[in-house]
Symmetry: C2
Subunit: 264 residues, 2 copies
DNA sequence: TAGTGGTCTAGACCACAAT
DNA sequence: TTGTGGTCTAGACCACTAC
């Protein structure tokens, strides 16, 4: 317990002072990555504060990705394992999905689970795919694991008519299983030439916190991705990524003045 | 006070039940956007819970962007004003900065404050600009307002040698004030052809919460952007954006197999 | 069995705004 | 003045984990 005293008796809230003390102790290396950090009870004793105060301090560091609190086990320093998601890898000719390459770059073993079924398009998806409501679409639910831990989940939608009876009908089966969307459609002669991704961010919902192992207070990225070929939507997906262990890297050319705008 | 009873007496934590009740009341339109929502004290009375429990319920909705709690004033439903940041607009030939166009699209008046000075490059910036430490760089601090409210802040760095004595030396002065980076450098014959943005996300730090008017529990996007010309870094910036009122839209072509990789 | 964090109660004082 | 949310105390019970 080498937490420093709280000096600054200014008007600062106590929980912020404690959070600052703990943060600098971690930065100084007093608590090595993966190691145990004083938990609620320890902080209550150390500083003579109530549980609420201790928890507020820990919640602040937890949201910032400094620590991770495991219910009934303890509180630990987060190692800085940082995966980078690289949509630039949506390039043609890559055999494996972009995710697999990203994970290997980080030195992690990658696994992908997928499960497909044909469903009727709801309004939102129908609009994104430019089809009418109730059109049959192939819905595929993915779960991506790196180093044994889940790091990404997504739900993909493709108009069924475009792939029915082709070798890529079921994304998780056959010769093209595990390939990225661009490579899969290349296999049936559909040349995907554009992607658009809308990035937002929010706390985990429903079972996302459990499924993706999102620590308390941390948020997830939500990406709405649509692939198009000559302006026509080919596939759209909702991608959920825990933001505490991922960053998103976008790298692309600056279009010239005379380029035509593309669909949103 | 038309909050429903809590039916589900299952093992669910009370604060989650209250949050769910309040959320559905908002979704159902019981509390119109901008209107007042039951605060901590009201929830304590309505459901007979302690302040901590009430606050946890409100914190959940606040982090999700449903409500905004203004200290000592009250708790209010967030209107869904959604700005879209569109780096696709880094196109050549646009007179005004991309931000201004984004804000106008949302029907808001845009203002930009900027302040420049020459400083010595610290290690991180020096690396991103491929210059040595202590090289003089022009640092510009921006603050962007839409409809009178701050919605974006950034710090930009450019090697001073490249712009010293040119009409674009001070980004906020002269004929090219208010132009985007691409247009400014076009003015001195430097053709920026590529941009890379790394997106992360975290709670607001220091004065960011106040400066950008980030509600309690909400997070900000942090973008590290670098413009390059023929692979050589021209400008790099750290951009901070409140994520509760912004989404990021990336739209770009899929490179072909034989394209060369670009610098990270 | 001892320790952990998760949840919750029942109070309290404060500064500030009056959406 | 009244009501608001911000902060805090001092307890409590629980389920689960680690040893």
């Amino acid at each position: 317990m080498d937490l420093p005293e709280l000096e600054s008796a200014r008007g600062w809230p106590v929980h912020q002072q404690i959070a600052a003390a703990l943060r600098s102790a971690i930065d100084a290396g007093s608590y090595p990555p993966g190691g145990r950090v004083p938990g609620e009870n320890a902080i209550m004793k150390r500083y003579g504060v109530a549980r609420w105060t201790a928890r507020q301090a820990l919640a602040e560091l937890s949201a910032a990705g400094y620590i991770r609190t495991v219910p009934k086990v303890g509180t630990f320093v987060c190692g800085e394992q940082h995966l980078v998601r690289t949509p630039r890898r949506y390039r043609r000719g890559t055999r494996s999905a972009p995710f697999v390459t990203d994970a290997r770059d980080a030195g992690l073993r990658a696994e992908v689970e997928a499960r497909s079924e044909v469903v009727s398009a709801l309004a939102g998806i129908a609009e994104r795919l430019s089809v009418s409501v109730d059109t049959p679409v192939m819905r595929t639910q993915y779960r991506f694991l790196a180093g044994g831990r889940p790091v990404q989940a997504s739900v993909s939608y493709e108009p069924h008519a475009a792939i029915a009876g082709t070798p890529i009908e079921y994304p998780e089966r056959g010769e093209h299983a595990g390939a990225g969307v661009v490579a899969r459609y290349d296999a049936i002669g559909v040349h995907i030439d554009h992607v658009s991704e809308e990035v937002t961010q929010r706390p985990p919902r429903g079972t996302e916190a459990d499924d993706l192992d999102v620590p308390r207070g941390a948020h997830v990225f939500l990406i709405h991705r649509t692939f198009t070929s000559k302006g026509r939507p080919i596939e759209t997906a909702d991608i959920v990524i825990p933001s505490d262990r991922y960053s998103l890297l976008y790298s692309f050319p600056i279009p010239d003045e005379d380029d035509e705008p593309t669909a949103t």
